[in-house]
């Protein structure tokens, strides 16, 4: 449905992004200044890249090799801008009607009524945007963008300017509207919760590049590289040595302890002795209750003993900084793992008084992260192909050929 290759140099910043996406909602996720909004501006034609190609639903909007560059007004993309960019001098109704100039009078009237009805804006139809609530403004922005029936909806940080409680409720509204209209959409955000709630696919950006692109669940549970994990805010990114792998199970050594990872071993044929990065989500680590040694000791894997050296109160949860008793250096400054437990458990286990613990990690929660220089993996994310391809690239044309070949190779596998 959507295929994008963009290249543009700025002073001190290079946008160099390639990704594809199926229909649905795609979230461009990454820190501020990663090039997400620039990508959106290029898509909308508000900025020209220096090279690349943009294809939406089989329609080429931009192609540097063939000199195609459709102006913004012909691209038929509905854009919801950061801060909404509603026309302050027009009423709600006139804002929604703005993109319907090409329709006949009667059809336009009908479309306006339909939009006002569907977005519950009827009662405020004659008001100016300045006198609307945040939620109403968002609906007007969506209505204006959707009225002309665009091919694709582009949303640039639609909730960034709002404070936290309002943001959550508007996020629900936004999700409902996008789903209700059944449009494919591209959402730019630096809020992972927002990306997770609204999108089916994730494209992870950092410093002008795409680190990984793929279905949301895949990207979240199998970040392709330590860099992706770090951009996604995944903590406990660690590095160990492979002991052996058999089928679905991989045994590795870390800090003198043995860890078992399940479910990821097949994706990467890793020879014994090779270094491998992995991560463990803080909420996937459990403290072993000292009064119950029965069933847990029966399966003595992924048990780590250590000391809680520090803790951070995060409201409903406590984040514990845990140092493992083992060989080698700490993974981080003074500790190895971040563990998140709910306040209730914290109080029940009297963690405040007792700092020496044994923790357990589910084998499935140890997630392997291939390094960027390793070969493209079977989970087939195009980003790692692109990253590998970059060193070979002499021109965009070559790159396109390479990606096509890589996809071919992946299909054969």
């Amino acid at each position: 449905m959507l295929s994008i290759e963009l290249y543009r140099e700025f002073s001190g910043f290079t946008l160099d992004a390639q990704w594809d996406a199926a229909s649905g909602v795609v979230a461009l996720f990454g820190p501020t200044g990663a090039g997400k909004s620039l990508t959106l501006r290029c898509l909308a034609g508000l900025m020209s890249p220096q090279g690349g190609r943009i294809v939406v639903n089989g329609r080429t909007l931009y192609d540097s090799t063939h000199g195609v560059n459709h102006p913004t007004r012909d691209r038929r993309l509905g854009v919801v801008f950061q801060g909404y960019a509603l026309f302050p001098h027009l009423s709600v109704e006139e804002n929604i009607a703005y993109g319907l100039e090409r329709l006949r009078r009667k059809a336009r009237r009908a479309r306006i009524e339909e939009m006002l009805e569907r977005l519950a804006l009827g009662p405020v139809r004659h008001l100016r945007p300045a006198s609307l609530s945040g939620g109403q403004q968002q609906r007007v922005a969506l209505g204006r963008a959707l009225a002309a029936d665009p091919e694709l909806l582009l949303l640039d940080e639609p909730l960034a300017a709002l404070d936290s409680p309002l943001r959550r409720s508007l996020r629900d509204d936004l999700a409902a509207t996008i789903r209700g209209f059944g449009k494919s959409a591209i959402l730019v955000t630096h809020d992972l919760a927002e990306a997770c709630q609204l999108a089916d696919q994730l494209v992870v950006y950092d410093q002008g590049r795409v680190l990984q692109a793929g279905p949301k669940d895949l990207v979240l549970t199998r970040p392709a590289t330590p860099a992706v994990a770090s951009v996604l805010g995944i903590r406990n990114v660690l590095e160990g040595t492979v002991i052996d792998s058999s089928g679905d199970t991989l045994r590795l050594k870390w800090r003198g302890q043995e860890l078992v990872a399940e479910g990821a071993g097949r994706a990467m044929p890793l020879p014994p002795g090779s270094r491998v990065a992995f991560c463990i989500r803080p909420e996937h680590i459990t403290l072993m209750r000292k009064d119950r040694h029965g069933p847990a000791t029966a399966r003595q894997i992924n048990m780590l003993t250590g000391v809680i050296v520090d803790e951070v109160d995060l409201g409903a949860v406590s984040s514990l900084r845990f140092r493992v008793n083992g060989d080698g250096a700490d993974a981080s400054r003074g500790y190895d793992l971040e563990i998140e437990i709910s306040k209730l458990i914290y109080q029940k286990l009297c963690v405040h008084y007792d700092r020496n613990w044994t923790v357990s990690v589910q084998p499935g929660a140890v997630q392997l992260l291939p390094h960027p220089d390793s070969s493209p993996t079977l989970n087939g994310d195009l980003a790692s192909v692109a990253i590998a391809a970059r060193s070979y690239r002499t021109s965009l044309k070559n790159l396109r050929g390479y990606i096509t070949r890589s996809i071919g190779v992946y299909r054969e596998l």
């Binding site: 909308a44 034609g45 508000l46 102006p71 913004t72 007004r73 012909d74 691209r75 038929r76 993309l77 509905g78 854009v79 801008f81 801060g83 960019a85 026309f87 302050p88 001098h89 703005y98 993109g99 100039e101 090409r102 204006r144 963008a145 002309a148």
Partner: protein
């Protein structure tokens, strides 16, 4: 009371203001909205006439359209005589008002959020349409203010009119000329009456335009 100078001033000033707005809008948009090589140069050229006193400006204009200059010769060949006509008076007033109007309108356009224009583009509008439906309405206060200033300057432009249009009674005798008494015996009484009339009219006009500008917001 001979009202001819009064009406002439009014007509010439209105015409000059219209001409200023029509020619000034594209220049103001260009300066306020586009970046191009020579931007600063154009900006300077537009403002420069404001530095000169009206008299000097009128004098230079007279020199420029005199038959001896290439422009004057070309106009002469085309059968157009500008010196000492009412058209010249309008042209002179235009020259004086142009820079004032452009500066005001330009700063108005600069303040219009470019994101709104982008939004208009994504909704399928051409550049022309974006200007009329977004840029101009949102910059309308500044444009109106510029128009007011241009009108005031035009109606008060004594010096330029004096030099270029001369002072032919009825034909080109404008209010400031009557007051200045150049070219004809001093008619202070008439001048005073006409001046009051003009001031009153302009005051009423400015009041209503000012209200209009406030209502639009």
């Amino acid at each position: 009371m001979n009202l001819a100078p009064f009406w002439f001033s009014l007509e010439a000033a209105t015409l000059a203001t219209l001409l200023t707005v029509v020619t000034g809008l594209p220049v103001a948009w260009l300066l306020g909205r586009r970046r191009f090589p020579g931007h600063g140069l154009l900006e300077t050229a537009v403002v420069l006439p404001l530095v000169l006193p009206p008299t000097v400006l009128g004098y230079y204009m007279l020199v420029l359209i005199a038959q001896a200059t290439p422009l004057g010769a070309w106009l002469d060949r085309a059968g157009i005589t500008l010196q000492f006509t009412w058209q010249a008076a309008v042209l002179a007033a235009w020259l004086g008002a142009f820079g004032l109007f452009v500066r005001a309108a330009q700063s108005g356009f600069e303040l219009v959020d470019a994101g709104l224009e982008d939004a208009a583009r994504t909704l399928g509008r051409s550049e022309w349409s974006v200007f009329w439906s977004v840029t101009l309405p949102l910059g309308s206060r500044a444009v109106l203010a510029g128009t007011m200033v241009a009108f005031c300057r035009a109606i008060g432009d004594l010096g330029i009119t004096l030099l270029v249009a001369g002072s032919l009674p009825v034909q080109t005798q404008s209010m400031p000329l009557v007051f200045g008494g150049h070219g004809s015996p001093l008619q202070l009484d008439l001048a005073n009456q006409l001046l009051l009339l003009t001031l009153g009219l302009v005051a009423v006009l400015l009041f209503f335009v000012g209200r209009l500008a406030r209502v639009r917001r």
